[in-house]
């Protein structure tokens, strides 16, 4: 097998606690340095909170795992300062094609709208993603990743979490105010706490091959049902960085995983697909079964579950890491406010409420896609094939063809942190929705993006349009900038005024996407979700919405 990637090795260093035998109490311990644990660590560091991360391994993700990262996860990494390297290295794509037999039945465009900073999707091998996150986390000086350190036991007792950790030097104890379990789909912390992880396993196997080749396939997602080169099953082709291509072959439940992984079985399959003349090398081959399951609750006292430890989906739709990243996006600001004594402990329950709702949405989508790709009964297969055949000529049937509904962010529509609308609004930016981007020009003449100005703290956006900002509004905003829960205010105008702190909606996208009229005011949470909106600015209402958004 060829290797386009050099796996880094992070050296194990005995911690001072273990060397000196002192038990130390940390504000936050994260178990697992996968994409989710690393994102959480970086988020804490960006907020000035030191974190300890325990990981039982000493390198990044090995083999064929996540490939596609969606806009929302990239926006979270953008907020944390890590998205640029990923996007530069990754393959940007937005078009997906679905074939049945040898003809195309369906095509979709994931970002039909222009004027967004972050692309709809990039493809990048998971090891690069983790490597970049580790680099960025280390640069903060606040993240202490302890490699070759396995969490053996976790107990939530007497207002703290007690952790036994095993290293090459033996077992030592550490304590934390809060623990975040990002220890993956096989989470041992879940088992330590005796929590059920229920759902379904799909009776199917998939051969996942990473293949190095110079091919002239476009940077698009191609999915085949019943292709001539792999009859009766499905196949997926996707481009990654370094001329590596991800190819999935559906094998059926009766396939023998050990046999199917052998190059003498894999190479003929690939030749049938790519043509005899295409030269390629295998980089990695594995056989997977997929499951859809989740924890009932993501908070258990001082222990939080995030990422695959909390929920697991099939990869069709790329909803794994893409839904784990918003978990930590949701959790970290809440935990920081509780640590600072600003928000009540009950705010942390909303982490579970909001992210369980998101997990349900992801599981539903993932289960539906898997049911279409892997029909569970004869009649289910008959309907599936009927839909595929009709799709060639009947436009409606194309909408039924489900090769994976790609990850989209969840609107926390029922969250009790939202202030329900009192005024009439159109469009998607309802309370609970993640902010959509818009290009803006700032007073220094720089063009930039709304998404770069949201997040970290609460942010208020006041749309003045072509009107000046009334003096009392400006005063009230100024006071809120210095309040107990500080709000950063941005004034958006429809033309250059030269006033400091204003942003010009020079393409009118803000007005359009936020249904803004002069006076329209939005309040965004530190995770960029809409907390409240009004047709005119009102200081008392803003304060009430803030209070509500921190669970008071």
């Amino acid at each position: 097998m060829l290797s386009t990637y050099q796996y880094p090795t992070f050296s194990y260093r005995p911690s001072e606690e273990q060397r000196t035998g002192t038990v130390k109490r940390h504000p936050v311990v994260i178990v697992g340095a996968g994409p989710i644990g690393l994102t959480a660590a970086l988020d804490f560091a960006r907020r000035g909170v030191p974190v300890v991360v325990l990981d039982d391994d000493d390198t990044v993700s090995i083999g064929s795992r996540a490939v596609c990262y969606a806009k929302r996860a990239l926006e979270v990494w953008n907020r944390l300062g890590s998205s640029k390297r990923m996007i530069d290295k990754g393959v940007v794509w937005k078009v997906g094609k679905v074939f049945h037999g040898d003809s195309q039945v369906y095509q979709f465009d994931l970002l039909p709208e222009p004027d967004h900073k972050i692309p709809a999707f990039i493809n990048l091998q998971q090891y690069y993603l983790e490597e970049y996150l580790i680099d960025d986390a280390m640069k903060t000086g606040l993240v202490d990743i302890r490699w070759k350190t396995r969490a053996l036991s976790v107990r939530d007792e007497d207002g703290r979490v007690v952790i036994q950790a095993e290293t090459p030097d033996g077992v030592y104890q550490l304590e934390a105010d809060w623990l975040i379990a990002c220890d993956g789909a096989k989470s041992s912390i879940r088992k330590m706490l005796g929590l059920d992880f229920v759902g379904q396993v799909f009776q199917d196997r998939f051969l996942i091959a990473d293949v190095v080749m110079k091919a002239d396939f476009p940077a698009e997602r191609w999915f085949w049902f019943d292709p001539p080169f792999h009859p009766k099953q499905s196949t997926l082709l996707h481009m990654q960085a370094d001329n590596v291509w991800r190819i999935d072959f559906q094998l059926g439940w009766n396939a023998d995983p050990e046999e199917e992984k052998k190059p003498e079985r894999v190479i003929p399959r690939l030749k049938a697909m790519l043509g005899e003349k295409t030269e390629f090398d295998l980089e990695w081959v594995s056989v997977y079964t997929f499951q859809c399951r989740r924890l009932e609750q993501f908070r258990h006292g001082r222990v939080f579950f995030a990422g695959d430890a909390a929920h697991q989906v099939s990869p069709f739709g790329a909803r794994g890491a893409n839904s784990g990243v918003p978990d930590t996006d949701n959790l970290v600001w809440k935990l920081k406010l509780v640590m600072d004594g600003v928000a009540p402990d009950s705010l942390l329950d909303t982490y579970s409420d909001e992210r369980v709702a998101a997990a349900k949405e992801n599981l539903l989508n993932s289960t539906r896609s898997t049911d279409f790709i892997t029909p569970k009964s004869e009649v289910s297969r008959t309907f599936r094939d009927a839909a595929l055949e009709l799709a060639a000529t009947q436009p409606f049937a194309r909408s039924l063809v489900n090769s994976g509904r790609l990850s989209t962010p969840t609107t926390y529509a029922d969250s009790r942190l939202n202030t329900p609308d009192e005024d009439g609004f159109q469009g998607a930016m309802v309370p609970g929705a993640p902010a959509t981007d818009a290009p803006l020009e700032f007073t220094d003449g720089d063009t930039g993006w709304l998404i770069d100005r949201l997040g970290g703290s609460f942010v208020g956006v006041y749309y003045a349009g072509s009107n000046p900002v009334p003096a009392d509004v400006a005063d009230a905003m100024d006071q809120q900038t210095r309040g107990r829960i500080p709000v950063t205010w941005i004034v958006v105008t429809d033309r250059r005024t030269g006033a400091p702190g204003t942003a010009v909606d020079y393409k009118g996208r803000f007005r359009e996407r936020y249904d803004a009229q002069p006076g329209t005011t939005y309040l965004f949470r530190p995770d960029q979700h809409v907390a409240a909106r009004w047709r005119r600015f009102d200081a008392a209402r803003t304060t009430a919405a803030l209070t509500r958004a921190i669970g008071l």
Binding site: F383, D385, A386, L390, A397
Partner: protein, 65 residues
Amino acid sequence: MAQLITENRFSSPDAFYEALIETHRDLTPEQSAKVNAKLILLLANHIGDMEVLQQAMIVARGEAG
């Protein structure tokens, strides 16, 4: 709420029935199953109303009150 119409709407019920059976002439059971599935999908999309469709599914399964 939209209601599934269960009173007769055919101007010629016998002609419809004959056409339905005719559609399946010379088909194997597998081919017939596929034709039926396509028919259901086409008609369901034509109706388009999820409430009506759900009522029909309940009646078809024999679980109507």
